[in-house]
Symmetry: D2
Subunit: 498 residues, 4 copies
């Protein structure tokens, strides 16, 4: 069992902050980060009655049944308010290509499958088309075993309810009638755009052994994201019991170092630790919280979890020490790809190692054809065509075509959905002079090139002016954290120097 490595006692207080929530299209807020100022009004007094204890409701599952019959996963396929734009211009976060052959959501779904959880509901609404398509092609029955499924629940209209999901809690509440189809014992709520490798069975085991109502997975690893605003922060005691759920805000950062020095009363019995937005929650507890206690709660973390705490429920933290990346920004995404290459032990190398498989759409591509390439510290996807080129520290995606003389370094090339000429899937209307792929004698450094991009000849994508942030979307690219991001299907004319 992991141990908390940080001990601090300063109680984080955000309760006084007034907020104005615009419930536009934020699915993920409570799932690990949160960008809004928000102060949900919790009911001041809750009856401390036994009805909150789901264990008193006759549990249909005895003796800790097999995980694949007793736990259903709820994956949020898309975040919103994403800082991953422009990668999310036409797709949700979960559908972003990563590590040459995969989509981001494959990491979480594969975690489920490898943890023997095969009842998986994916809730989607934001730019969901490509994600829905990916999920139904990648996980249709095969490899999910008896009664296993990945079921996409897209936001929908109904006679009672015409609007979009208003947050994570609202989304789950509206889908409860579907989610309750199988008599599972617990729901496992998962953000779909995080990158990590976890055996959820250990979380389930801990949850059941401790007879918790809710278990929250928290990151005990050495990551930098506890400095981020919007991250949910758990105050836990030495038994890993969660005492408080807070949000790290812009103005009031949780400075752990300071927190520790400010410890009053020498009280080292509490720690602050960032939530990973992963919740294991008893089925009956879920229904009770969403329908009875907080029927208007929209966000899961700030409203439902806080509410459960206020009701005196048993909320525990499960500390996870491995690599965890929540793709909170273009830079984080870029780093995750670079770490995939480096195969650092501390990094999430799930895509690149072979310990346990990461699933995705099974494909049938021809082998990669290499004419004359020097390739260093790179990862090459299926079915590429690499002419005379140099590739270094780069993730090269499926069907990438790199032409003579090209030099690619420190970059992420997402590849192409099609072979341009050969299979005729290209639009007949658009007639373009620049073909899909990387043109002759083109140089690319520290860039992300989205799918189906058409980079001409003698192009330099090198951030020549060393811009930190720049929106050149009309020209087909964006600069974010000094990283050049070429848009999906963008066309960069010959001889451009960016």
């Amino acid at each position: 069992m992991p141990q908390t490595s940080l001990m601090m006692t300063l109680q984080f207080s955000s309760s006084g902050t007034p907020v104005n929530v615009q419930a536009k299209h934020f699915l993920i807020p409570g799932l690990g980060r949160y960008d809004h100022k928000y102060s949900p009004k919790l009911p001041s007094k809750f009856p401390k009655a036994s009805i909150f204890n789901s264990h008193q409701i006759p549990n249909p599952i005895l003796h800790q049944p097999p995980v694949n019959q007793s736990v259903a996963a709820i994956v949020f396929g898309d975040g919103s308010e994403s800082r991953l734009y422009p990668l999310t211009k036409r797709r949700s976060e979960g559908a972003i290509p990563i590590a040459s052959n995969y989509r981001l959501i494959d990491a979480v779904v594969s975690n489920c499958i490898n943890s023997n959880i095969n009842k998986i509901y994916a809730l989607t609404q934001f730019n969901s088309t490509s994600l829905n398509s990916h999920l139904s092609r990648a996980y249709s029955g095969a490899s999910l075993g008896k009664e296993g499924f990945v079921e996409v629940i897209a936001a929908y209209q109904s006679p009672e309810d015409l609007g979009w999901f208003q947050g994570t809690a609202d989304a789950i509440r509206r889908c409860l009638w579907v989610l309750e189809e199988y008599p599972v014992a617990e729901f496992l709520v998962l953000p779909g755009h995080h990158l990590y490798k976890m055996d959820y069975q250990k979380v389930i085991e801990s949850h059941r052994n401790r007879k918790s109502d809710i278990t929250i997975v928290a990151s005990n690893g050495i990551t930098k994201r506890d400095q981020d605003q919007g991250v949910g922060v758990l105050k836990i005691n030495t038994e890993n019991q969660v005492m408080q759920y807070s949000l790290k805000s812009n103005k009031e950062p949780v400075n752990y170092a300071v927190a520790e020095t400010l410890t009053r009363c020498n009280d080292s019995s509490y720690s602050y630790i960032p939530s990973m937005g992963i919740y294991l929650i008893n089925r009956a507890t879920m229904v009770n919280l969403l329908n009875n206690h907080f029927p208007k709660a929209m966000d899961f973390g700030t409203e439902v979890i806080r509410g459960a705490l206020s009701l005196g429920m048993k909320v525990e933290a499960y500390l996870f020490e491995g690599y965890w990346e929540d793709m909170r920004s273009i830079e984080a995404f870029y780093q995750a790809n670079m770490e995939c290459i480096k195969k650092l032990n501390t990094g999430y190398n799930s895509f690149c190692d072979r310990d346990s498989p990461v699933y995705t759409i099974p494909r049938n591509l021809p082998p990669t054809v290499v004419n004359d390439a020097m390739i260093t510290d790179s990862v090459i996807g299926d079915g590429c065509i690499l002419n005379r080129c140099k590739i270094k520290s780069t993730v090269v995606g499926m069907r990438t075509k790199i032409r003579d003389g090209a030099i690619i370094e420190d970059s992420v090339i997402m590849g192409s959905d099609v072979y341009q000429i050969e299979d005729g899937r290209e639009s007949s209307i658009k007639s373009t002079s620049v073909p899909i792929g990387i043109g002759e004698n083109t140089e690319i450094r520290k860039a992300i090139v989205d799918k189906n991009a058409r980079i001409g000849k003698n192009v330099k994508i090198i951030n020549k002016d060393n811009v930190e942030e720049g929106d050149r979307e009309a020209n087909g690219y964006v600069i974010s954290g000094r990283i050049m991001v070429v848009l999906r299907s963008a066309e960069i004319p010959d001889n451009s120097i960016l």
Copy 2:
């Protein structure tokens, strides 16, 4: 080639009618019927330029290529403003069970497959969960052949566009970026909730031979639905060219008989014929109309088709003489089931005959167990349990359990998603005394019993007061056109007499 059997000349004019459109959640309005008063403002002057002629744009497909490579179908999976409530309470029209083993949308998708069209996009938004689930389980690759797919495009939010589809034209416009993936020559627009058997290849052949911009399939069969309000009506000349697209409204019905007698000038060169809401339209024409000419059009029939006519495009009618039912009401749905039983030649017997298969989710149910049953003129789905009972003129759905002494006549029993006790999929929380199925000594006449209903013992569902229309939803049923409709998962206590 079918011949028009009605010849009339009165020009139907609805152009003067002012309308007030409430763009709530109407996906299907223009697809064969229309309930709103509406008068779209067409641009007064259109350049009669060659740009309208899609044939001048180099067509990527020569020599009438195989249908499966050159046509993509766009199926509207759900109507709204449905008069099929309560069958649509938790599902869209396309997901309504029909003919024991099927869902309504299976008819149209199977028409596509049997017509060699294997690129099928299903656009959904209204109560779409069950429909999405059905489509992805039923049509995941198998039987769709090389590069075939049924791709569900659920309504979604995006940075540019936060709202729901605002009608059929709007839905197609927003999805064009997906629909244009393959270089098809034509799009085939299809309502997903109609019942008929058609070889679309004949429509395509006619369209190509006549070099039409748009071909609209119109019903030349002997049906009663040309009396319905909201039906789109085509005025066609003797060459089947469409001269006008009108809506039949409440106040201003198209009385064909009268129309004929009112013919002025002895002009018998025009006919009025109801549109089936099926449009075959050249790809470039579609893009032009939606993006360039009518970028704000919401409805396909009243706005885009009328607009195309006003632009002088070549719009032709293809006359279809077979059985066609558009499920416009509970009664129509009920009759379609009864006709399925009767296997009338005029009726749509596609589900019941074996001429060409209707596809659905492949299943693996045990055989039907019959203890002692007299069964007359009925259709029995897979995996039923029929104890000592009498069944007459009834459609019995999958997994239906009918207990001793029950009598069922002239009814539609939709069956159950689960075997109640045995597979444990029932919610553990809900404890109910009435089991799923039809109880002992219960009598049911002229009723539709939705899925998973629990009908107790000694119940009579006979519309005892001969009510025409009645909303007893709180009691678990609704009366529509004297047909008793028991709601999904409703529980009718023992000894009830309805």
Copy 3:
């Protein structure tokens, strides 16, 4: 834990019987029954060395790993020397249709899947075409989960080995190079033509807890098959340790009652109990026995098991008390179908109940159409057409067509692979006046009608002369145990009285 109900001490001795083996095409002899006289020459002296103990070989699997990763099943898909002729004329035993919708082998494969064993090798050679086809269609990935498969290993020729499998041991030995692909801990050897429902996980648990080399499942139920010749009989002590493996022969029946009275010394510490031909055996033990100790053994039961006993290995019996039917004869097959109907608790009702699913090819047939039928105590498969007819105590298979006036009692109608007219799969060459199905006014009693049979009008299949056994194959039928068996695709002309 089941208790032995028979206590006897007479040591069964068959060792003196000289035998003449004709190794024609007997795959299954040792798997539960044996028709040949045979006396394998066991090596007279075996070193009682530790090398026999597979536990000393480092076991790759620790801590009793999940069954689906540590056990592979070897299913013998076909018996030979079958007494099920003519049902086996064109198919192996495992491919015989049973219970309307299934094939015999589905019972064993479903037992595996329901026991979480998902690595299944099916060894076939005798009339294997239909069985191979069935297995690859029914179990291709779906429902088998991660890394699960049903792999058909058909007998094959190779440079080293030109002949057929010479028995069960020989078949396994030749396939070891395939079977060893996954590092499983144990192999589970299963006859594919038996009918029973068993959770093999209990066998595995017992085997591992007792640290056995080999566990043999033996039937402790009340069955009549211990009177059959050829059944393997285990002599076990009170700890269920196997002391001896014998064959019940024609001339020297194991008369248990007599055996008991002949008990010498009042020694009640031994029992005789029939083997079910199910062996769980450690992987290393299997390899050792087949390759090192008995490299020429052909039959698993009489040679390898006896050999293991002679080597002093730890061979245990697992007693199974449920229903078990090994389809040793037409009569047994007929009774199994009748019991399926009766759903006796003592009978194998797996096909008819819904406790745990029996898998087979997922299908997509139209519902059964019933015009006017009285059906009693019967089971009806998918997609039948039942006109005005009476059906009693009958198993009606898929796509059966029964015409007006027909009466069917106490029979097994296997149905049809095709709908005759509609889908055109019928041979165009064969022009026949009698259509597939049961003709008008035909009467069938106590018969098995194989697939695609064409029974004319006014036919009586009633065994009019009360024949016990009769070979009328030229006329399209066979009589076995007074049961009329109409051959596959046979044509019985109008007005025949059989």
Copy 4:
């Protein structure tokens, strides 16, 4: 329409050669090559009656129906007498890996699919295990469309027939009861181990237009294989009608050049051209020939085709001018791989180009990881791990691991079925010091390294003694045509110099 480029008139006569056939396990002899001396005794006199004309039998298919409903392919999955040993030691020819990601048979099956033929029977018997497994995994429904299948028919025993297939004609005859399931108009007989890209629809069109009984595809391309012994040679007239079918034997080579000069009477109306072993034959003709006229014929080419000619049937040649390779030897296989790299226009570049897909098992491998490689003119399969190495003119198969310092040139590395350590599929018993893959500082030139081979460190596989042919099987390799062939799973110890 291709034109014959060779014109010669010498009638090739082999009829006088007495032969002694050893019908061991030769499946493919007549399919393009033949090693045996053989003189089938044709019936001396055949009635030239109309019964031979299949067109008089009412053809169920009118108006040239769609190919996918009217033609079934019969693919011979395995040859025997193969000169591809040791690649065929544990597999049939069709299962040999080629072009990194494929198996040889994928070429022919993909030709079928791309020609819209989706009813494919694969007849197998020789070392068929891996082939059967491949086919059922690669072609189970997906991409085969409505009613499409690849059905493996393994040789089997039956009551009537205990032996193996005795040749191609015998194999088809025995399987006719299966092959006749669908009412196709023609059978297309295909060797499964040839490499070429052909649209069979053109052959079918020619066959139907010319109303032929049999159409034989013959190679009109510039290949060297017309010098091979055992090739079937067609004598055709200027209308491409086949006049004679001969075998090119060792002693009596068909020397085309000489043939031409020896032309008597200046008769240039005949040509000799090598058969590709591809036969399109009317269904009824097939049945007639195999069952009625030549019920004992074993080989299709030498017996059935010759017989058909002697009966006066209309046998036509379809001339194919593209690349064709029949993998008659290790050298031919090696050259085919090299040509795949070179992408010569004259070569079969189907695997490497993207014109039309070649299908195989869909996979889900991680991207190839490259640490520091110089790769020239090579093809890299999915999921490789390439450390600091140089690769030139080499086909690198799936999951190949190449370690630091290795140099590979002009070679075919087939890769591995597993990742050695990571997924644990390796046998636990075999403990080996040399891991799977290519060891450090190892040098490989002009070699074929079969799957799962373990090449140690500092090894040189360079044919140091420049041996032409050599059998070092005990040492893990064979030399054939100066090409080093390392056996499947062979272990080459560190520092070996071969």
